[in-house]
């Protein structure tokens, strides 16, 4: 255990390579990459201008969305097509079995717990992230020390999941009742409420909530930053006018701020719903799905690498994709509404 890790630390710094190979390469890349992107969009525009005037609006959009569609097709769509096809074949990959994998997976007791937990994530995680994110964006907007507050709230985004799990192990730490608690949550439970300490991660009454809380803590800064950017975009004179008209803050929020921010709230909400569906890291690191905390993406990972059962992992991935469809339908309605207003 850790045998390799200890060896890694012994690597020597190779200054010569660093200064003669790595540094020039980095500089070249820093200049070349933006240049290529800029030249692409300028160059193609010059080409489009040679087209007849009428054809230009037809050709131009594809120039702008082209690189994105190409990259996404290769990097995401192409592997997913393989995955979808794979989900209709047996474990060996040679026999077509139709919906066999789906029937098998959905009748597996473990998968049912997985689906229940994902539902819990789906109900709690996006809602809490949105509420905290919106509240923090709105409140911080009104104080002079907005920047430091936002930086502190955003900080969890900047650390890895491994660091996050270490931080929260401290919070949830359990020690028997006869010794002092070193986890802050159990210290509060024992000293303030005079109750027995709780094994937050193992106790099935609390552990799913405990894990979701970590995720909420991590993502709130993300939501706050986006919502705050949208809030800053609302023209001040509009709010001023309403206040002068005597509208109280609640009315201003409900009638002006909320409708104007709705498209952004939908974006953040949709992203959070999808993240709740594909939540993985925190459960993977903290419990590995033990104690009834397993979720779809973690189970898929286990089927893929631990069991090397590509039929099952593909099936779970497709279930995940299907679960996203309702969110997409909601989005269509939303941006039809935005278009209608314009």
């Amino acid at each position: 255990m850790g045998g390799l890790a200890s060896l890694v630390a012994r690597l020597q710094i190779d200054w010569e390579t660093l200064l003669t190979v790595n540094l020039p390469a980095l500089i070249v890349v820093l200049i070349a990459v933006p240049l290529v992107l800029f030249l692409y969009i300028m160059g193609t525009e010059l080409i489009v201008r040679r087209f007849p005037k009428r054809a230009q609006p037809t050709v131009r959009p594809w120039i702008w969305v082209g690189p994105a569609i190409l990259l996404v097709s290769v990097i995401l769509v192409y592997p997913m097509i393989g995955t979808i096809i794979r989900s209709f074949f047996d474990r060996g990959g040679s026999n077509f079995i139709g919906l066999g994998n789906y029937i098998h997976m959905l009748s597996d007791g473990g998968v049912l717990i997985v689906l229940r937990n994902n539902l819990l994530w789906l109900l709690l995680y996006p809602a809490m992230v949105l509420i905290f994110g919106l509240a923090l964006a709105m409140l911080a907007d009104r104080v002079s020390y907005e920047k430091p507050v936002k930086s502190l709230i955003f900080m969890p985004m900047a650390i890895s999941f491994v660091a996050m799990s270490i931080i929260w192990q401290f919070v949830y730490y359990y020690r028997p009742p006869d010794v002092p608690q070193i986890g802050i949550l159990n210290a509060i439970v024992v000293n303030l409420f005079h109750a027995q300490p709780i094994t937050w991660i193992q106790d099935t009454r609390f552990n799913n909530y405990a894990l979701i809380l970590i995720a909420v803590w991590g993502a709130t800064g993300f939501a706050m930053v986006i919502l705050s950017a949208a809030l800053k975009g609302i023209p001040g004179e509009l709010l001023e006018a309403a206040r002068v008209d005597g509208a109280n803050e609640l009315v201003v929020f409900r009638r002006i701020i909320l409708p104007l921010m709705m498209p952004t709230i939908v974006v953040v909400g949709t992203t959070m719903v999808i993240f709740a569906l594909k939540a993985f890291d925190i459960v993977y690191v903290m419990t590995a799905g033990n104690y009834n905390t397993d979720i779809l993406a973690r189970r898929m990972y286990a089927e893929l690498y631990a069991a090397q059962n590509h039929a099952n992992s593909s099936t779970l991935a497709v279930i995940l994709l299907i679960a996203v469809i309702p969110v997409l339908i909601f989005n269509v309605q939303q941006f039809r509404a935005v278009e209608a207003r314009r």
Binding site: M1, G3, L4, A5, L7, V8, R10, L11, Q12, R91, G92, G93, S165, Y174, R175, P176, D178, V179, T199, I201, Q202, Y284, V285, M286, T287, A288, N290, Y291, Y301, A302, L304, Y305, A306, A307, Q308, N309, H310
Partner: protein, 384 residues
């Protein structure tokens, strides 16, 4: 590894990762494997060897020299389908019971020589009002493995190597009498009903990180008197405050034989190296890790690592405890590798999970075993 570079001029690039399984499988499947892989979990490697994805070493190494330097058990451990594919660089000894000699002396407890004496001592400590055992199972994604060590040590010592081998190979059911008996032995004789022999009970067992499990030995009065862990646990003891001293604050005895017919059986583990791409550099590295010279370096660094190469002198071990462990390894009559690591990854994961469920409620054993049997049916099927 610097000595290796100095000697051969080959520079090594390392990737260390806890997602080793995932990365290795991806790279091999995509046709871009690393030259050499060192993996603590060799279940994956066995699977790869069976699929022909690793390179046999029989013609790459000087076998007569290897036979002279390595015990036959260690060479056999590295064989899949009769071909040598893994080379072990160092070993760790499992099934060591750690205790505080001062605490034992204060109460007049003797180090048990037989299993019966161990159980008698357990009951005596309990009737004196103490807790005999500390058990700590938390290890994040690997939670449960320390309990699986307990179980597999009992299987090997109670039912012998033949049962042990066919069990990890998936040919013996979990619900078979021998494997089940090991669970009940552990549960009834060591843990006690409802975990009553263990400090803190099931809650503490499941919530405590394995490395912290020994803390209870060193408190005053002791929270517990005995703690079963592998040889590497001393590196965790070093992190305790105050730092306990080897010999005076802690000592170890090997878990006594459960059945005298399998006397001297021990579960070991270690790090194996495999070649995943045949390059001159990879050959040089594989050759190097098998040498006494290389293993000497690890041994001297401490941390419970024991050389597999017999040419490494016992005098090179930094303290009496690791020296005694090295002696145990060399004199072991029946050495078996950690069964959990030999199993396919999903079988092993289910094993660990079973441990967590078992300590919580021992009466659920039959349903736990039924579930393990179910996993066993699919886990041993090769991947596509």
């Amino acid at each position: 590894m610097k000595p290796f570079t100095d000697q051969t001029g080959v520079k090594i690039s390392f990737e260390a990762t806890r997602d080793l399984d995932a990365i290795l499988q991806t790279k091999v499947a995509a046709g871009n494997p690393p030259d050499v892989t060192a993996a603590p979990g060799i279940g994956t490697l066995i699977k790869m060897a069976k699929a022909g994805q690793v390179i046999p070493l029989d013609d790459k190494l000087d076998m007569s020299q290897l036979n002279a330097n390595y015990g036959a058990d260690w060479i056999n451990l590295g064989k899949v389908n009769g071909k040598l594919v893994n080379i072990y660089a160092w070993a760790a000894l499992k099934g060591l019971v750690w205790y505080d000699p001062k605490a034992f002396q204060a109460k007049g407890y003797q180090v048990p020589k037989t299993w019966d004496e161990l159980i008698t001592l357990t009951n005596k400590i309990k009737s004196d009002g103490g807790k005999p055992w500390c058990v700590a199972l938390e290890s994040q994604a690997a939670s449960g493995w320390p309990g699986s060590d307990w179980h597999k040590e009992i299987v090997l010592s109670q039912s012998g190597p033949t049962v042990y081998d066919s069990w990890w190979a998936g040919k013996q059911k979990w619900s078979s009498p021998e494997i089940k008996q090991a669970w009940t032995t552990w549960g009834q004789q060591i843990l006690g009903s409802g975990g009553s022999n263990v400090y803190g009970g099931p809650q503490y067992m499941r919530a405590t990180t394995f490395g912290d499990g020994g803390q209870g030995l060193f408190t005053n009065p002791p929270k517990c008197y005995m703690f079963n862990q592998g040889s590497f646990i001393t590196s965790f003891f070093d992190g305790y405050t105050p730092k306990p001293t080897a010999g005076t604050d802690y000592a170890e005895f090997a878990l006594p034989d459960v059945s005298s017919s399998n006397a001297g059986a021990h579960v070991v583990s270690g790090d194996a190296f495999v070649m995943t791409k045949d390059t001159p550099q990879a050959r040089a590295l594989i050759k190097y890790v098998a040498t006494a010279q290389a293993q000497d370096i690890w041994v001297k660094r401490g941390g419970g690592k024991i050389a597999v190469n017999k040419q490494v002198s016992l005098d090179d071990y930094p303290d009496p405890i690791s020296k005694a462990e090295a002696q145990t390894v060399q004199t072991t009559k029946i050495a078996r590798y950690d069964a959990g690591d030999l199993m396919p990854t999903d079988m092993r994961d289910a094993y660990w999970k079973g441990v967590l469920d078992f300590v919580q409620d021992q009466s659920k054993l039959d349903s736990i075993l039924a579930n393990l049997d179910k996993v066993q049916q699919t886990a041993y099927v090769g991947a596509s």
